[in-house]
Amino acid sequence: MDLWVKLGEREERARVRRDGDGGYEVTIGDVVHKVDASALGRGAYSLRFDGVQREVVVRASGEEALRVSGASAAWEVEIADPLAHLAATTGGQDTRRRHRKVAAYMPGRVVAILAEVGATVVAGQGIIVLEAMKMQNEILAEADGTIKAIYVQTGQAVEGGDPLFELE
């Protein structure tokens, strides 16, 4: 399987194949790692490669990203099919990125709605105020645009991941 991966500024082509011994051959850029991966369940793995053992936990983080937690640090890794990535970066992106649904990042309660459907907003403008753990947090517009829809009402309790509004 061919992949495109990104960690911070670093972008690489990657390839994963099963090797004959029940392990994996993982190529990152042009470096080949022979990896023994034992799945511990719930996204946790014990990985043995290049003479070390590391326990990591891998969890989905957004649509195309994975959060990899090690013993003392965590990393966000973007991962995609290379063709899909290519399409996304050469024009396909526009149609995908135009409609942005913004979701609650954690459970809480909507205490105020600061914009109306149809309003023109700028990047960084507060749209919804969410209260969680006795703290109020403003959910901001990520880009300039128009509010296409607002999915919540003042006073409503929301779960993490619930859509709040859509930006066009």
Binding site: Y24, V35, L47, P107
Partner: protein
């Protein structure tokens, strides 16, 4: 005014008027003592750890504290109804409300803590300062009396020594405040502060207080019995604070000598004795670089950070609280308590240190606590538990003990390497960053240090460790496995169906099927 010693009676059932880790902490000792434990819980806490561990559990109301954990009269009525003979208030919530202690007394339920009179005496800043001065306990030098003029200000400042702080009598918010380092500046500072106070508060009255340069927060744990005896159990260093919230606590303090410990302990005992204090309490002091210490306030309850004292003294403070409440005198083990080894506690919060400590509630998807030599973990959560948005986001206290401070730091580092919490973000990376900080490692701390280091970004080498290909390899394998599963099992074929098919295959096999 000391309360007459009650007839000693053994407690049979204790109601814990709290939640989270402290409720768990208290009920553990109750169980060891063979005392029945009852807890209260709000609606979202039905599946919380204290409920699961308690002998009895009672709903007390909806999520907001004022409609549940703060309903003093309901809690006292509940204690009566279920036949609990005492209430342990933990910390926070009702623990320092003297009216709650009075309600307990009126209902004939033992309040495991000091008398309401002692709580009142220590609860008022003005009253407690006056009493401490009378009892010979050092307080931050200065006078609340307004100064007449610049000459009076100079004379007073001279009597307590520079640097001093001029403060507005009607003040607040830094208005009318001036730090003055020498006599040359005092007249101008007095006039400036007075004018600013007049403009801000309509009252130009100002007073002078000693300015303590970069103090440490060092507190003394005291314990008193109902027979008038109060002892010191030594100090805790709590100088690492973020916005006045303690973050790391240790015992003993890296800078307190045996002589200073004795002097601070004696002052704390005088402070507690002055108000007829019984049960567990803590006297907080500011300590300067010249070993001067100044009483700040007394916390009339068990503290969050009590475990570090337990680890270096070998005492169980909750056990002692209960024995004291039963009317037992403090025994010979309290005669001359000295610390042994070194203990450090870190408070693990559901907050993201990379995003300005934004709260991070949610489900704890995976959890593995550190274990092994010298590690204690006081937690209020378990794997699969939901960290609620309604309460203080402290998840647990991780406490280590070792024979000396350098070893304790290494042990803390090892413990943090073993800790695994997934699903929510925690403050663990902050402690890893602190362990790499030369000031913390050398014990060089003051109450402003952590905020300064966080603001300057000095600690935000946090978590940026050289990763190599590890995250990419892990992500690639996980992605590969996910894709394999998605193609191997068509979406329409649920897991259950496969199990059923397998079960049918087994049943059809000769001699198959599950029996007995």
């Amino acid at each position: 005014m000391p309360t007459p010693p009650p007839i000693a009676r053994k407690l049979k059932k204790v109601l814990i008027a709290n939640r989270g880790e402290i409720a768990v902490r208290v009920l553990r000792t109750l169980r060891e003592m063979g005392i029945r434990s009852a807890v209260i819980y709000s609606e979202p806490d039905r599946q919380s750890l204290p409920v699961l561990l308690a002998d009895e559990a009672y709903p007390i109301g909806p999520a907001p504290s004022r409609e549940s954990y703060l309903k003093g009269q309901e809690i006292v009525d509940l204690a009566k109804r279920i036949g609990a003979d005492a209430i342990h208030p933990g910390y926070g919530f009702l623990s320092e409300r003297s009216e709650f202690a009075r309600m307990c007394r009126e209902a004939g339920v033992v309040f495991i803590g000091p008398s309401p009179e002692a709580m009142d005496a220590m609860g008022s800043k003005v009253e407690s300062r006056r009493r401490m001065i009378d009892a010979g306990v050092p307080v931050v030098p200065g006078g609340r009396d307004p100064l007449a003029d610049a000459a009076g200000a100079a004379e007073f400042a001279d009597s307590i020594g520079y640097p001093v702080m001029i403060k507005a009598s009607a003040g607040g918010g830094g208005k009318g405040m001036r730090r003055v380092d020498s006599e040359a500046e005092i007249a101008a500072a007095f006039r400036g502060a007075s004018a600013e106070a007049l403009a801000s508060f309509g009252d130009g009255a100002v007073y002078i207080e000693k300015f303590i340069v970069d103090p440490r927060h060092v507190e003394i744990q005291v314990m008193g019995d109902l027979h008038g005896r109060v002892v010191s159990l030594g100090e805790r260093e709590c100088s690492l604070q973020r916005r006045h919230q303690k973050v790391v606590e240790e015992a003993p303090s890296p800078v307190v000598s045996p002589d200073l410990r004795r002097r601070m302990g004696e002052a704390a005992v005088r402070a507690a004795s002055a108000v007829g204090y019984a049960n567990a309490g803590t006297c907080e002091f500011l300590l300067d670089a010249d070993e001067n210490f100044y009483f700040l306030e007394m916390n009339t309850r068990l503290q969050v950070e009590h475990p570090v004292t337990e680890l270096v003294t070998g005492l169980d403070l909750v056990y002692t609280q209960i024995r004291v409440a039963e009317g037992e005198p403090l025994g010979p083990e309290f005669d001359d308590v000295q610390p042994r080894g070194h203990a450090i506690e870190v408070r693990l919060y559901a907050e993201d240190p990379f995003q300005k400590f934004k709260p991070s509630p949610g489900k704890i998807h995976l959890l593995r606590w550190p274990e092994g030599p010298g590690i204690r973990n006081d937690a209020g959560v378990y794997e699969g538990a939901e960290v609620s948005i309604h309460y203080d986001p402290m998840l647990a206290k991780l406490i280590v003990w070792a024979e000396n401070r350098p070893r304790a730091l290494d042990r803390l580092s090892r413990a943090l390497a073993e800790l695994r919490i997934e699903g929510i973000r925690t403050t663990a990376p902050l402690f890893r960053a602190l362990l790499a900080d030369p000031d913390f490692r050398s014990g060089n701390m003051n109450i402003g240090m952590l905020d300064r280091k966080l603001a300057s970004g000095e600690l935000h080498g946090l978590g940026t460790e050289e990763s190599g290909d590890l995250p990419l390899i892990a992500a690639a394998i996980h992605h590969f496995e996910r894709a394999q599963r998605a193609t191997a099992v068509p979406r329409t074929t649920g897991r259950r169906t496969l199990w059923r098919a397998a079960g049918r295959r087994d049943a059809l096999r000769p001699g198959g099927g599950r029996k007995g």
